[in-house]
Each structure stands twice: as C-alpha cells, then as structure tokens.
Symmetry: C2
Subunit: 331 residues, 2 copies
Amino acid sequence: MQDNVRKPLDRLSEALTDEMAAVNVLIRDRMASRHAPRIPEVTAHLIEAGGKRLRPMLTLAAAKLLGYPGPWHIHLAATVEFIHTATLLHDDVVDESRQRRGRPTANLLWDNKSSVLVGDYLFARSFQLMVEPGNLRTLEILANASATIAEGEVLQLTAAQDLATDENVYLQVVRGKTAALFSAATEVGGVIAGAPDDQVQALFDYGDALGISFQIVDDLLDYGGATETIGKNTGDDFRERKLTLPVIKAIAQATPDERAFWARTIETGDQREGDLDEALALMARHGAMAAARRDALDHAARAKAALQVLPPHPIRDMLSDLADFVVSRVA
Amino acid sequence: MQDNVRKPLDRLSEALTDEMAAVNVLIRDRMASRHAPRIPEVTAHLIEAGGKRLRPMLTLAAAKLLGYPGPWHIHLAATVEFIHTATLLHDDVVDESRQRRGRPTANLLWDNKSSVLVGDYLFARSFQLMVEPGNLRTLEILANASATIAEGEVLQLTAAQDLATDENVYLQVVRGKTAALFSAATEVGGVIAGAPDDQVQALFDYGDALGISFQIVDDLLDYGGATETIGKNTGDDFRERKLTLPVIKAIAQATPDERAFWARTIETGDQREGDLDEALALMARHGAMAAARRDALDHAARAKAALQVLPPHPIRDMLSDLADFVVSRVA
C-alpha cells in the first residue's frame, strides 16, 4: 500500500530528475550570503531538512508537459520554493513551533530574530529570482500569490479561535496559506511555456483544487483520518485550538450543549482530560469527518477535471494520479 | 536655528506637494485588505504615526528634477515606503521595541505574530506595486535593495555585540539597514525618468552617501551629538549594547584596560552606574566622536559632489541642502 500510494510523486520526481537537480543547485547558490554568516548557517539547516519539493515540481511539471524547452522554469520553480521556505520560517515563529520535519526548528536552534530576518532575506531573494526571467506576467502572478499568502496567514490569526469562522472564511484561509502557492506554481509553469489562456487557467484551477484538497486532508489526518481512530499525532490541532474544517462542520450543527463544549475548548482554551475523545465523538455524531472527506474528494476531482484541457502527456497523467494520491491518505 | 535647519525637507515637501498627495492616496489604498481585518487595524496605526516620508520623497525628487512627467514615480515612491514600513514592523519585533515615533509599537499593541505577518503582507504588497510600472530595471534595483536590507539586518544580529566588528563591517551593516533603500529610492527615480547611465549612477551615489551620513549622525546623536553632552535619549545604543561608529573608533584605539571595559559593557552586557559617563570619556580621549563626525561630513560632501552630474534644477539645490541639513544636526 505505502509503495503504491507514493508512486505519483516518485514518478514525477523521476520524470523531472534533471530539472529538479538544476533547481536544487540554484537554491543552494541563492541561499548563500557573502556578508552575513548567520544566513548560510540557517539556510544550510533548512536545505538539509529537505522536504518533498512538491511546489517547485509542480512548476517544472506544468512547463514540461506543455513542451517548454527552458531555461526559466528553473528560476520560477526555485522562486516558489524560496517563498515556501520563507513562509515556513515565519510560521514557526508565529506558531512557536519546536519541530519541523522531525528536526528542531530554526527559531529553536537560533532565535526568533534570526528566523524573522533570514525569512525576510529568502523572501527578498525570491523576488530577485522571479525578476530574472524578465516575464512581467509571471512576476505579477508570484507577487499576487505572496500577498494572498500573507493575507491568509493574518486572517488565520484572528479566525483560528473564533467560533463564528465558517466554511467560507476557512476556504479563504486555506487558499491563502496553502492553495495560493500551489496554483501560482502551476500557473507560472504554463505562462512561461507560452500556453494559451484556457490552458493557463486550467493549470491555475488544478493547483488551486489540489492545494485545498491537500489542506483538508491534513486537517483530517490530524484527527486520525476519516477512520476517526487515534493516530500518532492525533489532536495537535485540537490542543492548539485550531478551527479546522471537521470542527467547523461539527460546530455548524452543534446543539447548545455542544456549542458550549467548543466554546470552552477552542475559544477559551480550557481543555480537560477526555476532551479530545469528546470532540471526536461530536464530529462523528454529525458526520463531520466524512463530510470534510467528501469535500477533499470533490476538490481532487475538480483538480483532475481541470487537467482535461491540457494536451495528453505522461506528466499530465502523473498530475492526475497525484490528486488521487493526496486524498488516498484518508481513504 | 531649528526653523533654518528644517528648511530643505520643508522646501522639498512643498515642491512635491501634488506628487506626495498621490503617493499617500496610493499607500492608503494598498495598505487595506479585503479579507483580513487585522491588517487595516495595524496599517491604520502605522499611517497615523506618519513619519517624514523622506524615502519616497527622494524618488519623486529624482524623477522630477530629471523632467519625468509621470505617472510611475508615484508607484515607485509608494513601493519604497512599503519596504521601509515592513522593515520597521520586523525591526520592532527583533529589537523588542515598545515605542516608535512617540507611539506604542504594533508588536506592543497587538503581538509579535501580527507584526511579523502584517510586515510580510506589506513586503508582498511592495512587490505588487513595483511590478506595475512594467520596468524590469527598477524591479531589479528594488529587489536587490530588499535583499541587501535583509542581509544587513542579519549581519547586525551577529556583529552588534562582537568587539571584532570593524569599520568595514559597520559600513556593510549601515549600507544594508539604511543606505540601500536611500540609494534605491533615488536610483529608481532616475531610471524611470530615462536618465543616462552617469546620471543614474550619480543618483545612486547621492542616496548611498546621504544614507550613510544619516546613520552616522543618528549614532552620534545617541551619544549626545558631537558636543558629547548628555541629551534626552543619550545612551540608548550603549544600554542596548550596540557597536556603533563612535564606539568602534574608540575600541580601535583602546588600551588593554579600556578594551576590558568595552568587553564587559558591550560584549558581556554587565553595565553598572557610571559606565555611560566612562564610555563618553573614553570616546572623548580618542577623539572618536569628532572622527565619526568627520566621516559623516565626508559622506555628506560626497553626496553633494555626486549631484554635480545632474542638470541644474531647484530640486537639485534642495537635495544638496538636505545633505548639509543631515549633518547640521551634529554641527
């Protein structure tokens, strides 16, 4: 099973080996700094931590399936990864995180100051990178995505513990913190390849739907996945009082007593032993996990449908399988 | 005296009234956010706090003295102010500041999270703004300046309390945290006006020299100005253990005993009653304040000399007077 579900990402990675190698060289090169020694210390830590590099791979995949010969998709892919990395550094400061990808976070190893300022540096480097292809449309897309990301993060600050947060607000937050960079990644791949408008739009739609699906699945996994059994990291979001989709759905149908439970545990943050079990029971009573899973499947289906506008290509099939893979984690 | 020394900024402000009004409208418009209510709260606070808007004025001045009819200098000027404001928000988090321009800082009124994320938002908005003129050279200049600023801030983190910091490192930090945005502000004004290379270079040199002079004067004022008398905020940098130019100069000539004093007060941070007086006495003994003032005057002279390449214009004279004004604060 595990091997089977990992296939689409592995196959994409294989189909884009040379391009990803070039992206990694560019990332290492641009994460350096001649002047400030703290920068290479922090960025080396980030590079070693690795990660799947899913977002730059989306840019490369979009460009390649449309026959783009290069070279600027490499810069755009690296730009996307820089924006992502800068966001992670600042997220860890905002969330006071101590671990990321199984390693201590930069704010823990150094300090919040270094994370804020090195994040700013990577953000500025991302803008230098995106200017280099000399393409105003990709610049506009990536600058807009950066603003949408920051807006989504700020919205999350105020919406996260407010029971009035509904599915519309949730979708805005998710578009900001996750989907905006996915859709920008695929869209710029199409634009740099000189694709016609309908194909560029299809790539945007694919990235948008994939990103939303990806985030809903993440929310579900935090409560043990659609099976509602308790896994290793189950309940982190609950303990951090985050209003994620399954909780929002359960609150929408809550009785007055249930509402009082959510107000106490999420808004006030007064959590007691057994509260996580109670939260899971309330979500199960209203079918909230199953409904969130259906939403994730709908977005995955929307992602796959968008691909139909694009020319047939092995990479198109991999992108389609990737959408299935994302939701297969909560099958 | 006070009225006399304020003249150049007032005269610039008057000569650029209409343009500055347009910049302010654009700033208010772009600091809004449809989605995240925390953003307009924080940015309204920043806008009300005002500030001299010196940096956008430099862009407008450069463009106008070269006869540029508009409209894109407005966007570039607003971009420069957005970068500056984003930097201030993050600086206040890094320095744990509680006051700026006589008002409580955003990190105090809201929290560090809001300051980090709203700063990111303003930074992203600055990139959207700078893309709009569709001029790749101004984009490159502003993206490079952003990277230099962040690099300077990170360098300051590690250099600030290290007695090995020499004047070269100091200059790198100052170019990053102050002069890079001054020189980018003047340079993009020239580029958007279509000025020939030597004039663009002259504008860069003016901004660079003015920015460095400005920062050295700031350092001097923190120790009471060249007179070495104690003023209202005297000693903030000393208490915050910042290695500024006068201190660096005193350390370069320190006896072993004096070096031990600086190691204790700046590196270790073990400060006692009377230490500030002792620091001032050591700087006086080695003529460190006078030498730093000479450096500030040299940079101001360099700024004025650079202007000679530009065509005669009332605004050119105001920029020249502005360089004199900056150093007149430590006359």
